[in-house]
């Protein structure tokens, strides 16, 4: 896993101290590592990492489901 995703992984672990390891394809929403309440801060974190604001009325939730899709959609240059 490359470095760009590290702040995201750190944040998820901080929020979910009982989770040991987060596989790249784990569904973060279905497994409740992120829920609607946590998503607000999660978006701010992601915006900080990528350096631009996201338009939340246009987002596709599936892009946020796994570490792999987060990397593919937001963190690849």
């Amino acid at each position: 896993m490359d470095d760009a995703i590290k702040p995201v992984v750190d944040w998820l672990r901080e929020r979910n101290p009982t989770v040991e390891e987060i596989p790249e394809d784990l569904d973060l929403i279905e497994n409740r590592l992120i829920d609607s309440l946590a998503f607000m801060e999660f978006i701010l974190l992601l915006e900080d990492v990528i350096g631009r604001e996201l338009h939340l009325d246009q987002i596709d939730v599936d892009q946020f489901r796994t570490l792999r899709s987060l990397t593919d959609h937001f963190l690849k240059r």
Binding site: I29, D35, F39, L44
Partner: protein, 306 residues
Amino acid sequence: MPMPSVNTPSTGPAGTTAGDDTEFRTLLDRLSDKATADYYNPFTTFDWPPTIPADGLWMSPELLSVHGTGLMDELSPAQLQALGRWESVNFYSLNVHGIRELLIEVTRRIHTTGFELPSEFFHHFIGEENDHMWFFATFCLKYADKIYPDRTVKLPEAPRAQDVENFLVFARILIFEQIVDHYNVHLAADQRLHPTVRHINRLHHQDESRHIAFGCRLVQLLWERLLDRGLNEADRLDLRDYLGRYLTTSMESFYSPAVYRDAGLTDGFALRRRLLAHPARQAAHAKVLHKTTDFLHRIGVFDARH
């Protein structure tokens, strides 16, 4: 009509009709009468001056997200004014989006099974919230040329039981209204602020006192119905945890990287995290939330651990 009895468990899904409802009816009648007596036309009530001077105070310094931290001394008076201006626009924007959510939820329930009793008051509530949304949005658009976008997203989640969902909807509305009211009361009383700022906050507080009196009663009733039908321990813990996090998240929405950027402060996300970790800010949140947490303890939603 069947005779109401205190111990009759609810049969309807929303469950506000069973039990002894005399007290609830009396409160609803009183609040509806008061709403009629206090009724005003928002579209003619306010003088909207062409501008509100940017070099004045828009927000009480005590309500700023940096209050109690070293930044109060580090920032220049002009920077604090800019921050106050954008934090006030954020506050009214949060109101606009919060009201959209509560209008949707209350409208979904008015004149449906289980909500027969409060439906009359819901008409006042919905009408008033439409007015509030209009004057908050007008303020933002007229004086700041924007409403900060809604930062909430509903993720697909396993649905809870309908009566649990009803309880949560009205608990969230009440929490939102009590937090906002803390700011309204302070802003309405602060003589350093522009008269238009004070006016919208004063009128909002006046209407919200009725909504909050109603909300406390309804939330307690919905909670008691959940207990009567035998809420299991896991669901109880889930509700406690959820509402505790809802309180935290609500306070955190006052720490906006977009606001910090507009006020000329760099690295807004890091600033937000630093401020949120500051003991003075946690103490400030406890002050804003104390009526809500007292209430949730009193009716037994929170226990000693919260």
